[in-house]
Symmetry: none
Subunit: 406 residues, 2 copies
């Protein structure tokens, strides 16, 4: 089944509003029907553009979800364009008009002519009342295509798509096989290396589509198939091949993976962050319930804070410098001891744009993790700008924690 | 001039990634050229769809910005599709290949065949090297249309669009007068209130376009005019009218505004963060040179960390609870004293989804700032989800610091 989306509205083409409705619908459609949206189109509030798009999309798609332009104002004319595309007139839907009058009466407001304009729909359309707003949704057939017209207001859009559009799409899809998807999230490997690594599996799994996505510094491997029978063996082989590089599947985040490891052991963590300046703690505390496994993080941006909160010795700072293997380890051990918890993690580095030494230029970062039987330190060099070095360092420490907390 | 965008990538049709590039480009195009993107199209990683879209869009548009599918992996074949649409072959660009080899050599990595595939471009295309990544961008003419092909990685996309695509579009647009823009960034006022407040100025400045943009929890007022003579008086009147609500102009951030105030006084700041979990420190340390004015931040996620690092009394915790005016003030004063700096800031609240009390439900946040002659505390209630409460709280503390550090 070929499903497309059409959104109307100048605000979606002028940078004012991000189209979060479509992203939401895409996920729902994939989850409930296993169908990927085949194309997404955004047009401005121009009658000729809307009519042309309705004709073009309906000529090639089985179903189109059209949103926006059903409101009461001067730039709302999607129903009019739908009627024109279908070659019919606009008629007032009696139930929709009554629904609008009732809503206004309940609020003690007077109905104006442009409010009632929302009850005008293309002749022959199926009309569905909208419990979340005044404009109804309607369903129209254009040749072999079914078009669903819904308001763009997110609350109304989501309610109507969830309760009216998706069930109808499910029926349209009939006995069509659903598509299944799995996403393996990796750290510590470039996208091109990841591709090269799994390439030998392409031929073995012709019914699986291999895809890649980068969310710096994470790289995700995406497997898409028509059914579980095709997907499961490919997923298992990828997991075996990639081993520890995979930190999570699907919706889980790296922060969530760290939290799960700690929770499973009933352990807690304390951090000391220098160059990341709180990014690691901000990520970890983004997980609901983080207080069960994160005790604290000391953002030790000055040398005195490193000594005060993490007990780093003046000698180590003088001898090795704040950005060094020795100080990274002292930071991790120091906050661990101060907090009296099982695990300590630390990061110190030169994020730039200034700083650095000949041996450790800007982009050099030391990561350390201390815990029961664990004393790990890693040196990394990320020749990026300040923002990306900080992000790479924060993700690097979370990944080191994920690998070491066992 | 008719400009369209074409994005390729399954991830933009499966709900995995929101297309933030296009929103960014739309704003830039409008600000710099006064041109609205006429249509936005997203297609999956399917050769036939990409080729068809390239042909359709180029037949009706003057310029198309195409993004995505220029990487090294199996699902990257935009260059191949561009060649097919143009009816030419793919050729290796010698400079682009050398650029890829150089980037890998600098990192001590081996170039693989799929990395070098990124240097293959349609014959006759203008190739522009990409200082932010390995895949080059290229420019292709299809009949009367100019197509710009750029990578979809946001950092590479933005850099190339800013420095290469927009100047070329400006040239294509011809002698159109440049428009001037100013953005006043506000905190502590809703968008609708902001609009109502400046509305009386609309009629006085008919040559200025007033626009609004929300970046939760900031609201920006955008003034657009054909020349400085029209813009300057409108800007001055808005600044006078909005007063302290405006925290920055143009590119400056709220974190940058806080840093500038502290730097101007030669003062330093220490923080204690509970519910924001490091977000405030992460924002402040995002500013280069932050170590000159930020001493530390204690992410005190547990009660014991609040006592250990910020000297909060067990009595205050027992009497008022960790989320209270008293504890917020003790946190700010405590970290200030511990760090021996001029300013202390603190935030404590219920971010949810669980927690809260009858008096202080989830969404309640206390902010405190202590400094020379200043002892300020504010209670806020943001009935949002966890992520948005945390962001509102972090921005709230930065805004309180901006207003109090004088």
């Amino acid at each position: 089944m070929r499903v497309e989306t059409l959104c109307t509205g100048d605000e979606l083409l002028t940078g004012l509003t991000a189209d979060t409705n479509s992203t939401w619908f895409q996920t729902k459609l994939l989850d409930r029907l296993g169908v990927m949206v085949r194309r997404s189109t955004v047009v401005p509030d121009l009658r000729e553009d809307i009519v042309e798009a309705l004709l073009t999309l309906s000529a090639r798609a089985d179903a189109v979800l059209v949103s926006g332009g059903l409101g009461p104002t001067a730039d709302d004319f999607t129903a009019e364009c739908a009627a024109k595309a279908a070659g019919v007139g606009l008629v007032e839907d009696v139930r929709a008009a009554q629904h609008i009058r009732d809503r206004f009466a309940k609020r003690g407001l007077t109905v104006t002519a442009n409010n009632l304009r929302q009850a005008m729909v293309p002749a022959g359309a199926e009309v569905i009342l909208n419990s979340e707003g005044s404009a109804p949704m309607f369903v129209l057939r254009l040749k072999a295509c079914t078009l669903f017209f819904v308001p763009g207001v997110p609350k109304e859009y989501r309610h109507l798509v969830d309760t009216e559009v998706l069930p109808r799409l499910e029926k349209l899809a009939g006995a069509r096989p659903k598509r299944v998807l799995c996403v393996l999230k990796t750290m510590g490997i470039f996208e091109s290396q990841l591709d090269a690594k799994v390439q030998p599996l392409y031929a073995k799994h012709p019914r699986v589509t291999f895809g890649f996505r980068t969310q710096q510094p994470e790289n995700h491997l995406k497997l898409l198939a028509d059914d579980e029978a095709a997907l499961a063996p490919a997923r298992a082989e990828c997991l075996a091949l990639l081993g520890e590089l995979v930190f999570a599947e699907g919706e889980q985040t790296l922060a969530g993976a760290v939290g799960e490891k700690l929770k499973a052991k009933g352990h807690r963590l304390a951090l000391a962050e220098s160059c990341t300046g709180g990014l690691v703690a901000a990520q970890l505390t983004g997980e609901p319930g983080a207080s069960a496994w994160l005790e604290s993080s000391a953002v030790v941006y000055s040398e005195s804070a490193k000594q005060r909160w993490a007990g780093v010795s003046a000698a180590a700072l003088a001898e090795h410098g704040a950005v060094s293997e020795g100080v990274a380890l002292e930071l991790a051990a120091g906050v661990r001891a101060a907090a009296g918890v099982e695990w300590g993690g630390a990061v110190t580095g030169f994020a730039g744009p200034t700083g650095g030494t000949a041996k450790d230029p800007v982009g050099t970062v030391y990561l350390a993790v201390c815990g029961p039987g664990v004393d790990a330190v890693e040196r990394h060099y990320w020749p990026f700008d300040r923002e990306r070095v900080r992000r790479a360092a924060a993700w690097g420490l979370m990944d080191l924690l994920r690998r070491k907390v066992v």
